[in-house]
């Protein structure tokens, strides 16, 4: 939205407005009368020293060079002074992530789209593996080796159930196909 209210906010206005209000505190009946510095549920985790009210006027570290694509939350103006360089967005999952990051952290669209991107990324990862001649090894990579050693009965039970469900599914599909063929020949 072009004229959305958030586009009309001036940088650093929060403290300016607060200071202005506090300067005219005498005009606000009862201002500060019941303030109790000990009424602080964050104690002792937070050492309240008023730094909150300085907002972003603190000494910042130098900016880590932006030599790769880093997505950032739209709830902040840019990237942080340091950032992780693991796995920049790539391919279809990357495109989905870019879309997700156009929404705030308050929205389901942001988070659920990221989950979707994660699932797409898993398939993308398998394809990348194959392209590089790496064959996924579920026996090792899924830890089935350990399961076989410590939970053999459970492992066999689950494998048998999966095999049974797969066989039933295949048989059901075959039967449906056969029925369709019969119907079309009538």
């Amino acid at each position: 939205m072009k004229n959305a209210l958030e586009n009309q906010i001036e940088a650093g206005q929060d403290r300016v407005i607060a200071q202005r209000n506090m300067a005219r505190a005498a005009e606000i009946p009862g201002w500060g009368m019941d303030a109790d510095p000990e009424n602080d549920p964050t104690y002792p985790m937070k050492h309240a020293n008023g730094a909150d009210h300085q907002r972003l006027n603190y000494k910042k570290a130098p900016q880590q060079p932006l030599d790769m694509e880093i997505l950032h939350s739209i709830e902040r103006p840019g990237v942080t002074r340091v950032f992780g360089t693991s796995t920049p967005p790539i391919g279809l999952s990357g495109a989905i992530r870019r879309f997700a990051y156009t929404y705030s952290e308050a929205t389901a669209t942001h988070w659920m789209t990221l989950i979707l991107a994660d699932r797409v990324d898993t398939i993308q990862g398998k394809l990348t593996d194959l392209m590089h001649g790496v064959l996924p090894n579920p026996w090792v990579e899924r830890g089935w080796r350990a399961e076989w050693k410590y939970n053999r009965a459970g492992f066999i039970g689950r494998a048998a159930t999966t095999a049974l469900l797969l066989t039933a599914g295949i048989l059901l599909l075959k039967r449906k196909k056969k029925n369709k063929y019969r119907m079309s020949n009538r």
Binding site: S73, M112, E141, G143, N151
Partner: protein
């Protein structure tokens, strides 16, 4: 180098072809890992429950290591220092860090403003590769990493990077008063520590609730707690009300988070359908089991975006909810003293030790709770290269 490589939910690789990390910022250090742990919260990543967990990432936010290289701005650390590295990445300068909320740093996570910066915890935690590897890049190296105190056992040191301070803070933020009845939901590593530390604040009674008998047995020995299996109860809330003179516990600690068992609808909606960020069963039990005007401390991890919460009960009972990621750096001096003085020996919770090469087995065993596992430790083969 050898490092854990996430390939999708329930599938990880011990990958020998990962590049050794480089200095990317003047405040960085490169650390050669000597010990790392798998955290219960790593399982949320492993199970595919945390948004923006990208294929190819290395997990691990609990590790110790030897400094191999430092950036031009690093002054407190030098090459060869053996350090424990808190899981929080913190700048030390922002208003939150200035107030010792190191788990809420404003300059460590571009991707999510609700979350601090953490090693190896998805892009929702800032996109940093973690310590289940031979080497790690450690940003803001002058702020949180701490040189191992002389004589400290390495396994206790690595537990100080998360488990010990997180368990401690669970009890600390619960505002426990002398004589209080404290209920801890979850007998995993954090629940065990929280129950143990509840006594440090003067608890009169500590009750641990879980579903795994071997962990409950451990809680009785390690945490000196009463321990009960909710599978043997018709309703854990009624059990706890009755156990507290129909009054409710003074304090309840949720040390389970988003993968709790015990409630069918929560499991279906939270874990199977992902309609909420995992199951909030332990939180519901905590809210309903605590007394009116009581305190619920949340230390179990819940992912975004939301969970069903009993807000009406919270309001009507006048509860105080206190929660945060542990601020490790703030707590370290006190906790180092507790360990060095022999008041607590955290390494007793480490039940399994794996070479880093066997990390897929370690994850599977921890995820499925095989072989009575409580806490798995990973040892990289390069760990012993240059320290005694």
């Amino acid at each position: 180098m050898l490092a854990m490589n996430f390939r999708g939910p329930f599938q990880i690789r011990a990958d020998r072809n990962r590049p050794v990390p480089e200095i990317k910022h003047p405040s960085d250090a490169i650390v050669r890992v000597t010990r790392s742990l798998i955290c219960g919260s790593d399982l949320h990543l492993y199970h595919g429950m945390v948004p923006d967990t990208r294929v190819g990432m290395t997990f691990g936010h609990e590790f110790t290591g030897v400094v191999e290289a430092v950036g031009s701005d690093v002054q407190k650390l030098k090459v060869g220092d053996h350090v424990l590295v808190p899981f929080n990445i913190a700048c030390g300068s922002c208003p939150h860090c200035q107030q010792e909320l190191y788990g809420n740093c404003h300059e460590a996570n571009s991707e999510a403003t609700a979350v601090g910066g953490f090693f190896g915890y998805a892009h929702t935690g800032g996109g940093y590769d973690g310590g289940q590897a031979e080497y790690v890049r450690v940003p803001y190296a002058d702020v949180s990493p701490t040189i191992l105190p002389e004589g400290m056992d390495l396994e206790n040191a690595v537990l100080l990077t998360d488990v010990v301070p997180t368990g401690y803070q669970a009890a600390e933020q619960a505002g426990i008063q002398k004589g209080d009845t404290v209920v801890v939901f979850g007998a995993g590593p954090i629940g065990l520590m929280a129950a143990r530390f509840a006594w440090f604040f003067g608890a009169g009674r500590v009750i641990v609730i879980d579903e795994l008998d071997y962990r409950l047995e451990f809680a009785r020995k390690f945490s000196f707690a009463e321990a009960y299996n909710f599978r043997e109860m018709k309703d854990p809330v009624v059990f706890l009300k009755k156990a507290t003179d129909w009054f409710g516990a003074d304090v309840c600690i949720d040390a389970v988070g988003c993968e709790a068992s015990g409630h069918a609808w929560q499991t279906i909606s939270g874990k199977s359908l992902l309609m909420q960020a995992g199951t909030a069963t332990a939180f519901h039990w905590a809210v309903n089991s605590v007394k009116k005007g009581g305190i619920v401390s949340i230390i179990g991890v819940y992912g975004p975006p939301w969970n069903l919460a009993p807000l009406g009960s919270i309001m009507n009972k006048g509860l105080t909810i206190r929660a945060n990621q542990a601020s490790v750096k703030r707590l370290l001096p006190k906790l180092i003293d507790h360990i060095m003085s022999g008041r607590i020996n955290p390494k007793e919770i480490i039940t399994h030790r794996f070479p880093l090469e066997e990390i897929p087995d370690a994850y599977r065993m921890f995820s499925k709770k095989l072989d009575n596992i409580i806490k798995p430790l990973l040892i990289p083969s390069r760990a012993n290269a240059s320290f005694a």
